[in-house]
């Protein structure tokens, strides 16, 4: 399965007010090309912090919050999972796209290609609802459940390497942040 197809399911299954925080690079660019929403918060440069940012937002809002993270990024900041496990934000859904490589930086195989199972790590950090999925059907089933039931959820989706259709990467972090924030300001 491809990351693009899963992101598409995610975007199509949630209503406009659910924030989606996306990992830097192709994950953000694909998300933007699927559908740009003011409650998409694309990460820039802050590799490894996607789920931590989503966690911070989850603590401050009542709606579900979705993080689209990656295996290489999570390994850079694995403690982020322990913090989520500790605080148990019931509204947080972490989706980890696991292509077993650092795709952007010349396809170096990542630790998940060599022994590390991030679903088990999540579980070991106290995130009881941790799953590893290999097909779109499996993902769809668990994600729909995650949208209606209390979490936190950690869903590791094993995906094919390679990117889907992407938007251009030249967009402005400050502007995206401003429009994202504005959606939370009551006028």
């Amino acid at each position: 399965m491809k990351r693009f197809d899963i992101s598409k399911i995610v975007v199509e299954s949630v209503n406009e007010n659910i924030p989606i925080i996306s990992n830097l690079g192709p994950t953000s660019r694909e998300l933007r090309s699927i559908k740009h929403r003011t409650r998409n918060l694309y990460q820039y440069g802050s590799m490894g912090l996607c789920s931590s940012v989503a966690f911070g937002i989850a603590l401050n809002t009542d709606t579900k919050v979705i993080s689209l993270d990656g295996d290489g990024a999570v390994i850079m900041n694995m403690g982020g999972l322990a913090t989520i496990g500790r605080h148990q934000p019931t509204n947080l859904i972490v989706i980890i796209y696991d292509n077993e490589e650092w795709g952007q930086t010349a396809h170096m195989p990542s630790h998940t290609s060599a022994g590390t199972n991030l679903a088990n790590v999540s579980k070991s950090c106290g995130i009881d609802k941790s799953f590893l999925v290999k097909t779109i059907e499996e993902f769809d089933l668990i994600f729909k459940k995650a949208l209606t039931e209390d979490g936190p959820y950690s869903i590791v989706a094993k995906i094919e390497q390679g990117d889907g259709p992407k938007s251009p990467s030249v967009y402005e972090p400050e502007f995206d942040l401003l429009s994202f924030r504005n959606t939370y300001i009551q006028k």
Partner: protein, 186 residues
Amino acid sequence: MERFEGIKHLANHIQNELLVSNLGPTSNELWQTGHKDNFFYTYGAMGLVSSVALGMAISTDKKVIAFDGDGALVMNMGTISTIGRHQPKNLITIVWDNEEWGQTGHQPSHTSAGTDLEEVAKSCSIPKTATVQSLENLEEIFLRALNEDGPWFIVAKVKEPTDKGPYVAPIEPEMTTFRVRNFINK
């Protein structure tokens, strides 16, 4: 079990191995048990003990032991994954787990609230793992680890001492590096 006792017991068995110790009280206590030139005390590099030990382990045939802490390891959990990936047979990681950041005001750490570091190590495919509560079990598993291929990952549950720990050891980082390098090249 208190960490100081545990360190005393294990340090007795360390002769030709290299030992890397976590910053703060772990290094102070290790110094108090009797300095040896194969002890590498880290300073300031919180979270990097096991990473430094991993680097040593892949560049020497000696056994390398890391005295890490739960608070430090949670800061750099990815290192467990790196160890699991490289499978250094000669690396033994001991985590002194007091479930708190003792130095900075006894804030409870993540291991007091859901995180099980031994399970994390297993999830990162480290083959030999254990959690021990008593001195006897710790010593027994440590002696096994010294003689059997690893990598080993041993979580030693310790309680924080009620009295003030030993005085700050007069250790100079440059001298530590110099001594340990000489020891390896001997």
